[in-house]
């Protein structure tokens, strides 16, 4: 029995029913609305990017690579962002050195060693919360602990440590997820042939989780690379490198690409507009490249269990 009641099964009746196309108005309306949402959100981004690129174009055509290699200067015609790039690279290096081992270690402990008790779950939940804490708060922490308490001053070390702490929760979370994705059957297989817990982790769990860990780390780096607020708190704004030897660069005043943008945007001269846009383009390109690398790595090593 058809729901519609009359079970007409003659050929004509069936044909009339099957082909009598009624338009699903609500469905179409919804589809249009969804498409509009997509267009609007993408549209904003496209407008923003085009605007920046157009503004940046003169700077690139006038100065070319000189823009990337020149040091900071008060005179727009000579100002470049090399110090910002170097500063950002130093900070990124710190993040890798500090946050990667600490974050992976913490995640391995949480996932592989810690018993599933109340305190463990409390810690897990709060690491997620830490990842949601606004960056400026980490800046304050860096200012209070690294700059003042530990007497590092407004140095690249203090900035790097601050950014490292900032992305630490991200690395812990992504590593935890990657570890959890390694099926329990693999762990049992390793233990079943007489491996110790550490042998199981070293030979199986970590290697299989490595692509996920790597992806998470790269995304964390991109985040650190673009972060501005905490750097302003720990003093990147005031500084330019006044030393060329490596140690001096780490302990003396410094700057980073996002803070260069911040500074240039505040300059009164009209010429700095193009420079600011150019620095933004450089920052965006770096972040896009880093994210692309993360996606490629993830796709290449993605493992289905």
């Amino acid at each position: 029995m058809a729901v519609t009641g009359d079970a007409v099964t003659s050929r004509r009746a069936v044909e009339a029913r099957l082909r009598g196309g009624k338009t699903d108005v609500a469905g179409v309306a919804l589809q249009v609305f969804l498409l509009l949402s997509l267009v609007i959100s993408l549209g904003v981004l496209v407008v923003l990017l085009t605007d920046i690129f157009i503004r940046a174009l003169p700077a690139f055509t006038d100065r070319g690579l000189d823009l990337l290699t020149s040091p900071l200067s008060a005179r727009p015609a000579r100002a470049g962002m090399s110090q910002g790039i170097i500063g950002s690279l130093i900070l990124t290096g710190f993040v890798i050195l500090l946050a990667l081992p600490l974050g992976v270690g913490a995640a391995v402990y949480l996932e592989e060693y810690a018993r599933d008790t109340g305190p463990t779950r409390f810690v897990r939940t709060n690491i997620r919360n830490l990842a949601g804490v606004p960056a400026i708060v980490y800046g304050l922490l860096g200012l209070a602990v690294f700059v003042t308490l530990l007497g590092m001053g407004q140095s690249a070390i203090a900035g790097g440590l601050t950014l490292g702490i900032l992305v630490l929760p991200i690395i812990v979370i992504t590593t935890s997820e990657a570890l959890r994705a390694v099926p329990i059957s693999i762990r049992e297989a390793a233990l079943g042939v007489g491996a110790t817990r550490w042998e199981m982790i070293r030979s199986h769990v970590l290697p299989y989780a490595a692509p996920g860990v790597l992806t998470g780390t790269i995304l964390a780096l991109a985040r650190a690379f673009g972060e501005t607020a905490p750097l302003i708190m720990v003093g990147a704004v005031v500084g330019t490198f006044n030393s060329t030897d490596p140690l001096g660069m780490l302990t003396g005043s410094y700057t980073a690409l996002p803070t260069v943008i911040f500074n240039w945007a505040r300059e009164p001269q009209e010429e700095f507009r193009a420079l600011t846009a150019a620095a933004i383009v450089v920052l965006l390109v770096v972040i896009l490249l880093v994210n692309a690398a993360a996606i490629i790595l993830r796709n290449r090593y993605d493992r289905r269990w």
């Binding site: 693999i186 233990l191 007489g194 030979s203």
Partner: protein
């Protein structure tokens, strides 16, 4: 994980045989009126059978033939008792099958033989399980060494996503094996009846093999560390009949050198492949207990307990 599965709220009316429950399709009221009566009779008989099972005397073997000896072994996940006071002996160089309905604790019991349940935080045992006379859960017993001697093959083939060679060589490597690894790998694969199929592709990933081959690879991996016992947790449940027969054939060859304990859902498999069979079922508290253990032939032809008979004739479970 494991315990979540087991500690799901206990279903009521466990004692009602499946057939009276599934009768609901028949519209005739007569059946419905008869059903409760039927149930009462069944329930009473069942109670008696259960009582009989509690006092069941376990099969005894000569002392030097006993590999495992369980004494009133209970396994818990948290406060939930999954296995209740099982006493039995597992004989050397024989295949002992554990059969019983789903959720009766067969796997839990098997996993307590090599302390695999240690992985579950909430798991613990009462009673004792002795391996060649040594209490496996005594203080100072190293679970790693236990698992080296008591290998395991799991329900779903779980080769490492590494080469076939590395799959087999991992165990010996962590055990610090000093001999010629190539020979050991070949010997293990030969014993697992897999060598001829993989000898030209030892460097290819083990995960690329077919399901049956993967399971034989897992068996090769288990015997590469030259254990004394191999525990098999429904090793054929994910395999087709031909692969299943191959594994069973392999088991018969392996028992020359190893003691095998196998959990199976498949009664034909137990009947075909094992020397001894232990039948477990669960009580109202959802804890699995041993109903009877006997030479396989005897258990399947003339079971002592009515519960066993019901199960092997397909009346429930």
């Amino acid at each position: 994980m494991v315990n979540e599965d087991v500690t799901s709220p206990p279903s009521t009316q466990r004692t009602i045989p499946a057939e009276t429950q599934t009768d609901g399709l028949a519209p005739e009221s007569a059946t419905i009126r008869i059903a409760p009566l039927q149930r009462n009779v069944d329930e009473e008989e069942r109670r008696m059978a259960e009582a009989q099972a509690q006092g069941a005397t376990a099969l005894e073997f000569e002392a030097d033939q006993v590999v495992f000896e369980l004494e009133a072994l209970s396994c818990y996940y948290g406060s939930f008792r999954a296995v209740r006071e099982i006493s039995l002996q597992v004989p050397k160089n024989r295949i002992t099958a554990l059969i019983g309905p789903s959720g009766c604790g067969k796997s839990t019991l098997l996993r307590s033989f090599n302390r695999m349940n240690d992985l579950v935080d909430s798991a613990h045992i009462e009673g004792s399980i002795r391996y060649h006379g040594v209490d496996l859960y005594a203080d100072g017993v190293d679970p790693v060494e236990v698992r080296r001697r008591i290998g395991m093959v799991f329900q779903k083939p779980n080769p490492f996503p590494k080469s076939i060679y590395d799959n087999v060589a991992f165990g010996p490597r962590v055990a610090g094996y000093k001999g010629k690894m190539d020979e050991l790998v070949e010997r293990s694969l030969r014993r697992a009846a897999l060598w001829d199929e993989v000898k030209d592709k030892l460097r290819e990933p083990g995960t690329a093999l077919s399901g049956g081959q993967q399971q034989r690879l897992c068996i090769a991996r288990a015997i590469a560390v030259e254990p004394d016992v191999i525990l098999m947790d429904e090793p054929c449940s994910a395999l087709d009949p031909i692969a299943t027969l191959k594994i069973e054939e392999l088991m018969r060859e392996l028992k020359e050198n190893y003691t095998i304990v196998i959990v199976t859902h498949n009664m034909q498999q137990a009947a075909r492949a094992s020397d001894y069979t232990a039948f477990l079922t669960m009580g109202d508290d959802r804890a699995g207990y041993l109903v009877e253990m006997a030479p396989t032939q005897q258990l399947f032809t003339s079971p002592e307990n009515r519960l066993t008979e019901d199960y092997i004739t397909g009346r429930f479970g």
